[in-house]
Symmetry: C2
Subunit: 229 residues, 2 copies
DNA sequence: CTGTAAACCTGACAAAAGTCATTGTTTCAG
DNA sequence: CTGAAACAATGACTTTTGTCAGGTTTACAG
């Protein structure tokens, strides 16, 4: 239980045996836990990170400011996910900001331990590499979705994605609660367009709402919409 | 001169000293050179690749078929670039098709040599990792562009990108010649919309054309357009 | 050369998405 | 409990983009 942070790293990098005992211990010893309130930033676009953040609890949005002043949310990170690896590995400043979408608990892991393990432990590095290759493939899929699908399709897909990745409570409402604006920023559209489409889905009984909570009602219909009927 | 293929690998992976002499020799010995005609496929989406392709000459488009039947071009690879690494590293089938945009010469490098070096040479692996982290960052930028910029902005940006990355001849015409349909598939729009915007740019003297060749005339105007005036 | 297929272009229209303005509804700090 | 601020919703309108249905030009195999 006390070593949940190790698990973050291990899960993210998908390689339990890739890090040696000493490496894990060292990483674990140097960690710092922090509590973050909803709406607070963990780091901002352009900062130099000297370590990675591992999510213990809550959800964070990773976004990038576009030229027209809108945020584009590129990823949502929840329990067990690591933020800031790219920056640490490439030794560049981050291209993304991380802001808490709910109250969070994160732990910070200084880069030294990670960089060291990367250079000394090929198996670990290969696992990280594999993970990144996979992420890159997913990024290609996102690019295709963004440029070929309509806003309606992207919103439908977002709800299915949220349910599959963050789950739903016993009443069928999504575990992550995003504002309409955040949803708009995930799919890359205007907030008003997003609201209108959500209303339409609600009217057609594809989804249900209760306050800010949203629940998937008709998965099949949403799926059909995404796939172009 | 005979070892230009080594250079491909080295340049792409950005690490001359990261591969040992023997490793380089082995990679170089096992290479196979192939000539590909314009329009021919090098590999297709879904195939399992048992090696990577390194571009010696010409340009290839890497694209993915979307649900609505349109191709989305995700990347253009030219001299010195490697195609198929992700697939080999992640041990997944490719998510992209590679088709020659001009007559090409590529060399094929079986995966064994690469996989072997990855496991045995941490420096090499770290370099590859770094390269991939960088690509992933670029992918984020593309996602933001695709979802926040208008078609007109994306087309203007595409011309600037093509000129900066593939250069222009003495008359100012781009070295890569893409059909209007290909350009449309790069920016993710309908061919007709693409043609209309190209005509508009020509009328406004932002670009010039001669047959299929396109040249950037007013870089500043294009830049301003991309940045939203 | 020359016919033909592919590529390019254009107009007319429809659909999708963005913008602006306004109002209703929550939320939550004090 | 309450009032301001943030969020959600909706109408009216414009702009952008896509689609269909023709045309014209260009490339090139035979």
């Amino acid at each position: 239980m006390k070593n949940r942070c190790e698990n973050c790293i291990v899960r993210q990098f998908n390689s339990l045996r890739a890090m040696s005992k000493e490496e894990l211990k060292r990483v674990s010893d140097s960690k710092i836990t922090r509590t973050i309130k909803k709406g607070q930033a963990i780091f901002e676009e352009g900062e130099k990170l000297n370590g990675v953040y591992c999510v213990r609890d809550g959800v964070s949005k990773l976004s990038k400011l576009s030229a027209n002043g809108k945020d584009q949310i590129v990823k949502l990170a929840s329990k067990g996910e690591v933020m800031g690896q790219r920056s640490v590995i490439a030794e560049e400043s981050t291209n993304l900001s991380a802001v808490a979408v709910s109250d969070m608990e994160v732990c910070f892991i200084p880069k030294e331990g990670i960089v060291d393990a990367l250079h000394k432990n090929p198996n670990f590095t290969v696992e990280v590499l594999r993970h990144m290759a996979h992420d890159l493939r997913e990024a290609d899929d996102v690019i295709v979705n963004m440029s070929q699908k309509t806003v309606k399709q992207r919103i439908a897909e977002a709800f299915l994605y949220l349910r599959d990745n963050f789950g739903a409570d016993t009443d069928g409402f999504l575990n992550v609660t995003l504002s309409r604006e955040d949803i708009a920023n995930v799919v890359g559209t205007a907030t008003e367009s997003c609201i209108r489409i959500i209303s339409e889905f609600k009217k057609k009984k594809y989804i249900k709402t209760s306050g800010k909570k949203i629940g998937v009602v008709d998965e099949k219909k949403l799926r059909d919409l995404v796939d172009g009927f």
